[in-house]
């Protein structure tokens, strides 16, 4: 009961955060003039997504090159540490590039900006998607002595989790739990911001609010259902 009370209380800062961010945005009237700055925003977003995706792709090839060069002089610990961090950075770059390119393409289509913007963002999206699927193919090259599943096997993610040892799972659990809490907080803030924006401008964001609310409910139900039957 005490834990539930703490969970409930933990949402209060997010609610207040949403209110403050919403008031800040409305005060500066930034979103209501989004239409007029959409082309500039699209170009900035496109440049950012291209740079981030290219960095990710470059990381992919650096990792591939470094993983295949091993000799007697190689410091195994240093190489493993480098590959572990590089893989995480590359994965983050490609994921961010993918999300940004989809966002730019969506805004460009909605705002009917120049065609080259959505063609370029579409190409960036395809490149990011391609390398997102190619990235796990590096795992057997990075860790040849480990019995890791092939990326084209069905249930690859589940098999990779089962192939991880207890320390790796511990790191993943901590990361995922922090991510889950952050996602809950940011979605909650987003819901409050959209609500305030809708009320103040009369530009109803009901669909966005429903999508955010559904995402919040589904992810929390999925989490609770997956832990409640383990007691």
């Amino acid at each position: 009961m005490g834990k539930n009370k703490n969970s409930f209380l933990s949402f209060i800062p997010y609610f207040l955060g949403g209110l403050i961010i919403g008031m800040f945005i409305l005060n500066f009237n930034a979103l209501s003039s989004l239409g007029s700055v959409a082309p500039a925003l699209c170009i900035t977003g496109l440049v950012a997504s291209v740079i981030i995706t290219v960095l990710g792709i470059s990381g992919f090839f650096q990792l591939k090159g470094r993983a295949s060069i091993r000799d007697a002089n190689t410091d195994e610990d240093e190489l493993d540490r480098y590959m572990y961090r590089k893989y995480a950075d590359t994965s983050l770059s490609i994921q961010t590039g993918l999300v940004l390119s989809i966002l730019v393409m969506g805004v460009a289509i909605i705002q009917q900006t120049d065609a080259w913007i959505y063609i370029a963002s579409g190409i960036t999206m395809i490149a990011a998607l391609l390398f997102l699927f190619l990235l796990p193919t590096l795992l057997p090259v990075m860790y040849p002595e480990r019995n890791l599943p092939s990326s084209n096997e069905p249930d690859f993610a589940d098999k990779l989790l089962r192939a991880s040892d207890e320390g790796e799972r511990h790191v993943m659990l901590e990361g995922l739990y922090k991510t889950f809490n952050t996602m809950n907080a940011t979605l909650f803030i987003g819901l409050i911001v959209l609500m305030m924006y809708s009320i103040s401008t009369g530009d109803g964001q009901i669909f966005g609010m429903v999508v955010i609310a559904a995402t919040l409910i589904i992810s929390n139900v999925k989490y609770v259902l997956s832990i409640r039957n383990k007691g």
């Binding site: 410091d75 610990d77 493993d80 540490r81 991880s164 040892d165 320390g167 790796e168 511990h170 790191v171």
Partner: protein, 67 residues
């Protein structure tokens, strides 16, 4: 929990990767245990004890309050 793994590795001339291979775990897990950020399972503790030929309680040292 305090651990003597780093000291014992140095004594036996093992790097983290070599110890990880002997203990059938990843180097990341060895690093986590060494940094005292993770308490290993009994199975891994037993393997470490066998590798270093030391009793488990001399490798993984707990304060009285922790037990």
């Amino acid at each position: 929990m305090k651990t003597r793994i780093r000291e014992l590795r140095a004594r036996d001339g093992l790097n983290q990767t070599e110890l990880a291979k002997l203990a059938k775990i990843s180097r990341q897990t060895v690093s986590l245990i060494e940094r005292e950020e993770y308490i290993p399972s009994l199975l891994i503790a037993k393997r470490m004890a066998m590798i270093f030929d030391e009793p488990i309680e001399s490798i993984f040292i707990f304060d009285k309050e922790e037990i």
